[in-house]
Symmetry: C2
Subunit: 116 residues, 2 copies
DNA sequence: CGACAATATGCCTTGACAGGTATATGCCAG
DNA sequence: CTGGCATATACCTGTCAAGGCATATTGTCG
């Protein structure tokens, strides 16, 4: 009954890792477990959540369950992101300024006191 | 000191609403407060988190603080998303199948039945 | 059928976080 | 300086989710 927003699901680092892993190809629970070095119950639980939220689907292969990616939620996220992409392309200058700043000094974030 | 992943920050619906609001133009705290009908402390807290995470920056205008969007974190999210976009373009067929399914039956909730 | 492999689920504890309310800080005008 | 507006922060509280562990479930094979 989570019906969590896709974003809430993606908030968990291990879940993002699982998804990224599935980009290369579908995987069984055991494989995910080994590659991410996570305890098996953790993997199953995260997969459950991913599945409920529509990020993945699974099929049965003997005793294994194989999981693979499903489009919906990430498309949704991408859609949400669209207005911002457009924003950056309009305020292209602001983007450039920021990228500049970023490249010149990479130390901790100091707040530049910009006044009018 | 959260240094939370951008995704964790986006997990909060009100924060996403604030960001979306800022796409149209920069806004003062009070404006955000009124448009989203949120209590003022809530707005300030969310803005603090958004600022710490680099989603927004603020400048002072008399007693008002005006907030505007900043690119970094959302670009990061967009970057994370890239491999998946590429994935869908390769497995284009799977995408199509899913979109089909989606369109044919548009019931309120898409609770996929048992995979038995 | 029994033993075993692969995966799922239940319970418990702990920590993080959002909401609410009260209060502090900063800034302006008279 | 005083009061008042705009915003920030402190504190408290309830909720909810992740981690860890034990156990249940399901499928396979001999």
């Amino acid at each position: 009954m989570s019906m969590e927003s896709a974003f809430a699901v993606l908030a968990e680092p291990n879940r993002r890792a699982i998804l990224t892993l599935l980009v290369s190809s579908e995987q069984s629970v055991g494989e995910i477990e080994r590659r991410l070095r996570l305890p098996q119950p953790a993997v199953s639980k995260h997969l459950r959540i991913l599945k409920d939220a529509g990020f993945v689907e699974s099929t049965v292969d003997a005793q294994r369950r194989v999981y693979r990616l499903t489009p919906e939620p990430l498309l949704e996220v991408d859609t949400w992101l669209a207005p911002f992409r457009e924003y950056w392309s309009r305020h292209f200058d602001a983007l450039a300024r920021h990228l500049d700043r970023m490249q010149s000094s990479t130390p901790a974030k100091k707040k530049r006191g910009r006044t009018k």
